[in-house]
Symmetry: C2
Subunit: 108 residues, 2 copies
Amino acid sequence: MLFDFYGELLTVKQREYFDLYYNDDLSLGEIAEIDGITRQGVRDILRRAENILLETERKTGLIERFEINLRTVSEIEACVGKISSRSSDPVIEELVGEICKNLEILRQ
Amino acid sequence: MLFDFYGELLTVKQREYFDLYYNDDLSLGEIAEIDGITRQGVRDILRRAENILLETERKTGLIERFEINLRTVSEIEACVGKISSRSSDPVIEELVGEICKNLEILRQ
């Protein structure tokens, strides 16, 4: 999630290594071999990238806020589900559908 | 909003000048006088701070996402209002109240 939110703040090289290591699950040695640098070099670049991502979250708290929002969306969804099961009004049913579509947008 | 989202990414000095200039509405000259530096010095620090905030938004798009979310919350609110006016069921009314409280959390 750190990478999804703040990945663009990294340099191209940091992003590339981060992606190879965490998403493609390559080892430090394998990444080092691709670029002809040392394992330590790869480790340093990764550590710097991680620090940037962690520091950005520590300072802005935007992922934390996003996670609170996800929980809130789930609570709204539960209430909307209860409304739907109590009502037999087709107009309310349509409004419930509309709300659910919008809740999906908030999840993204 | 840039400052609210990303202000913590600035240095203490950048944040202080940004706050004095944009929130307290002091002039470049007034800020310069406080710290005994030139107007140009203040302008440079402000410009650097603005660039950091704008670049962070350009790269992450998190404020844009937040604004889309606010519009989505308004649409949900409108649907919930319509449900409330169609229904006379007190349980549904209570659920609507619960949803509205949660929508307020999403606005923050």
